[in-house]
Amino acid sequence: MSGPSSMRTPLARVRNLGASHSGTGDFWRQRLTAVSMVLLIVPVITVVIMLIGRNQAGAAQILGSLPIAVILLLFIIASTWHMKIGMQVVIEDYVHNEKLKLASVMANNFFCFAVALTSIYAILKLSSGV
C-alpha cells in the first residue's frame, strides 16, 4: 500500500485493478446476477404461487422436482451473491471507521454465505428425498 508520502501519483496508484485490487469485478457481477434474476423471477414466483395452501408433503414434492430445484438453486446463488455486493456498497458508503468497516464487510460475507448454504442444503435435501 502506498501511503500519503508515496512518490506515486494518484493516477499510477489506481491504474490496472485500482485501489480495490479487484477492478470492476463487483460492478460486473452485480449486473450479471441482476440480469439472471430478471430472467428467473417469473419462474420463481410461479413456484411460490404453486406452493400456496399446500401442506409439507405437497410442498416437498414440488420443491424436490428437478426443474424447480434447479430454478431455485440458480435464484439462491444469484440473489445471495447480489445482496452480498449490494450490502458491501452500503457499508462502504456509511461506515467510516476502518475497523468497524472491515468487521461489517466480514459479517456481511458470513451472513450471505450462511443464507446461501442453508437454502441450498434445504433444496438438495428435498431433491434427494432423505
Partner: protein, 145 residues
Amino acid sequence: MGRPRSHNNIKPPMTARIERPLSPHLQTYRWTLTMALSIVHRATGIALYFGTLLLAWWLIAAASGPTAYANVQAFTGSVIGKLIVFGYTWALMHHLVSGIRHFVWDLGYGFKANEREALTWGALVAGVSLTVLIWIIAYAVGGGR
C-alpha cells in the same frame, strides 16, 4: 515505488492536506423524485437482504418436516406475517423494476430530465401494480386449496 515524474525540482506538498472546494452536501438540494427513489432502491435492497431469512426458514422447514412447515404457515398466515410477505413482495417488485431502470441508465439512455422522471414514475407505478397483480393471482390460484 514509482519514479518521480515532475519536470522541475519543485516537489508537491505530500504531507499537508490540500484544501479544495467541496461540492454542497445532499441536504442543500431541493428534494426530487429521483433522489427519493434512489434511497428507496437502497432501502428495498436492505429489506430484501434481511427478508431472505424468511425464505431460508421456509425452505429449511419444507425440508425438515410437517411440524416445522406448519410453523412457517402459521406465521405467514397471520396478519403480521401477511403484512411482512406483502411488504417483501413490494420490495422485490420495486427493486426489480427500479433495477431495470438502472440498466437503462447503464446503457446510456434516459438521462434527460423528462426521461428520468418518466422512468422513475414508471418504476414506482409498475412496482405497486406488479405487487397487487401477484397477490390477486396468489389468492385466485392458492386461495381455494
